[in-house]
């Protein structure tokens, strides 16, 4: 494994990093989105959880490979929480993959009003050398 970098998701500097979450962020740094899979009952989670919601067993991280999704819902945030004030307006979207898994992230390249049902593609972003994100592209 690469040398431990300080990595944060999205625009936050959430310091509550665990080894499991660190592994997720390191994969993200390589443009890989990880899901988690329960080692006992094989239930999958996106975003990943260290503990299975069903049987509370440990999960392991595995790469999530779906890339195409549909816009499940969206919001254009004009008045943002203080920590993101400088980024507003921004678009938060829930995308739904063909498998039914969903993911919440920003849409970063919109040129017109989003529409529920429109196609989205998963992308990755290095906001700066510490902050990483997955994002939606239209």
């Amino acid at each position: 494994m690469a040398e431990k970098k300080e990595l944060y998701l999205g625009y936050s500097t959430d310091k509550a990093i665990t080894p499991f979450y660190q592994e997720f962020l390191e994969a993200l740094d390589q443009d890989k989105l990880m899901k988690s899979v329960c080692t006992q009952c094989s239930t999958e989670f996106l975003p990943p959880r260290q503990h299975c919601q069903k049987c509370l067993s440990e999960c392991k991280l595995e790469e999530f490979t779906e890339r195409e999704a549909k816009l499940h819902s969206f919001v254009i945030v004009e008045f943002a929480p203080e920590s993101l004030s400088s980024k507003a307006p921004y678009v938060v979207a829930i995308g739904e993959f063909p498998s039914g898994r969903r993911l919440t992230a920003h849409i970063t390249n919109l040129m017109s009003m989003p529409e529920v049902g429109m196609p989205l593609k998963l992308g990755f972003e290095h906001i700066d050398d510490k902050k990483l994100s997955y994002k939606w592209l239209v």
Binding site: Y8, L9, G10, Y11, S12, D14, A16, Y21, P47, H72, S73, F74, V75, I76, V77, E78, F79, A80, P81, E82, S83, L84, S85, K87, A88, Y90, V92, I94, R102, L103, T104, A105, H106, E115, V116, G117, S133
Partner: protein
């Protein structure tokens, strides 16, 4: 068999930007009318403080501070926290203690002081009720969670923003007649429909207010009720429900599963249905939340909310009066006080004492309070029955 429990008294502070008070003074303001009715400290066995967000004040151990401030420091107290449903969660906790026989008489006091920080900071604190790992990093404010529901509802049922603006107009119409309201002014449809966007598709007039305020009720066990009032309001049904933490994981965004579960449970316990209610207080933290509430409670079928609004059936003389006190939209939404304020309003309406008689609902026998926390992770529904 649990003992029957009634609400026997209530008090309510002025809601607003209360730079003349902090949480302790607001609590005193809410308890004072109860004290004046003769329910002095010695008659109260214990208290529950409904106080949702200590980030706003920095005050820890809130129930100790408040109990002391209002002279209840020798009586047991505790604090409950469940985001915006803290008020009815507190009432539910207190009901349990009284029904079980632990105490006979309890004060349930709800408060929030939110305006000593900027709106951006307040929005920041509230966004921290989202999942700190997976939602918060994307800046999903409270209005944003509900805007996600609004976008979906509009797409699924082909609804325009007009419906939401009509709800806001109604709320302000009644808030303007409520002396306790934070923003007691009428708003025109055009103003409400074209206001500055906050989290599109929601604009300023879709949002509840950032409010300072307090509300209090006293509950008592059935065999003690007569000592306090000849106009009790019985707690007839209580339902509580819950939903997924992350909004993306909800099976649907056009209804709140926990609210449906809570409503169903409350009606079952009461042996009543939505059609039996004479008024409802719903958690309209955003106009879309009010619309969805009509459907989750079962006042109308899914997708029929807009028609109900169009026909003005939620006005005080309509089929089902909803938030005739102005609701969270115009009366205001001091998080911890909100559920208690709903309870207070139903009690006043049942007694024929609506503050400002122009908005008195005729002959209220049954009333319902629907109180939602966060974007639906917690929901409490109470059904109250006039006992006189």
């Amino acid at each position: 068999m649990a003992r029957k429990v009634a609400v026997v008294a209530g008090g309510h502070s002025k809601f607003g930007k209360r730079y003349d008070a902090t949480m302790r003074e607001l609590c005193a303001e809410a308890y004072k009318p109860i004290y004046d009715e003769g329910i002095t400290q010695d008659k109260i066995d214990a208290s529950v403080l409904s106080y949702a967000a200590s980030q706003f004040t920095g005050q820890g151990a809130g129930s100790a501070l408040i109990a002391d401030y209002i002279g209840l420091h020798e009586k047991p107290h505790l604090r409950v926290e469940s985001a915006c449903t803290t008020g009815t969660a507190s009432l539910r906790a207190a009901w349990g203690m009284v029904a079980a026989g632990l105490y006979d008489v309890m004060l349930v006091l709800g408060v929030e002081q939110m305006n000593r920080v900027s709106s951006a900071t307040a929005t920041e604190y509230m966004s921290q009720a989202g999942d700190m790992r997976w939602e918060y990093p994307f800046g999903i404010s409270f209005p944003a969670f509900y805007a996600l529901m609004a976008s979906k509802y509009m797409a699924e049922y082909n609804m325009s923003h007009d419906t939401l603006a009509q709800i806001s107009v109604k709320s302000h119409h009644y808030g303007a007649q409520n002396p306790k309201a934070h923003l007691p002014k009428e708003v025109s449809f055009e103003e409400a429909n074209n206001a500055v966007p906050i989290c599109r598709p929601l604009n300023l007039y879709d949002c509840s207010l950032i409010t300072d305020g307090a509300a209090a009720v006293v509950i008592a066990a059935e065999d003690r009720v007569k000592e306090f009032t000849d106009r009790p309001m019985w707690i007839r049904g209580i339902g509580a429900g819950a939903s997924e933490m992350m909004i993306q994981d909800r099976p649907s965004l056009t209804s709140i599963p926990g609210a449906k579960r809570a409503s169903k449970a409350a009606f079952e316990m009461a042996g009543l249905g939505p059609e039996d209610m004479n008024m409802v207080q719903v958690h309209d933290c955003f106009t879309i939340a009010e619309l969805i509430a009509y459907e989750d409670i079962g006042i109308v079928e899914p997708g029929k909310g807009p028609e109900f609004v169009e026909n003005k059936e939620m006005y005080h003389d309509g089929r089902m009066p909803v938030n005739i006190d102005g609701g969270l939209k115009s009366k205001g939404h001091p998080l911890g006080a909100t559920g208690i304020s709903m309870t207070y309003e139903i009690m006043k309406q049942m007694r024929g004492e609506a503050e400002n008689q122009s908005r008195q609902i005729k002959d209220v026998k049954y009333g319902l309070a629907h109180n939602v926390g966060q974007s639906g992770q917690f929901v409490n529904v109470f059904i109250f029955e006039r006992g006189f």
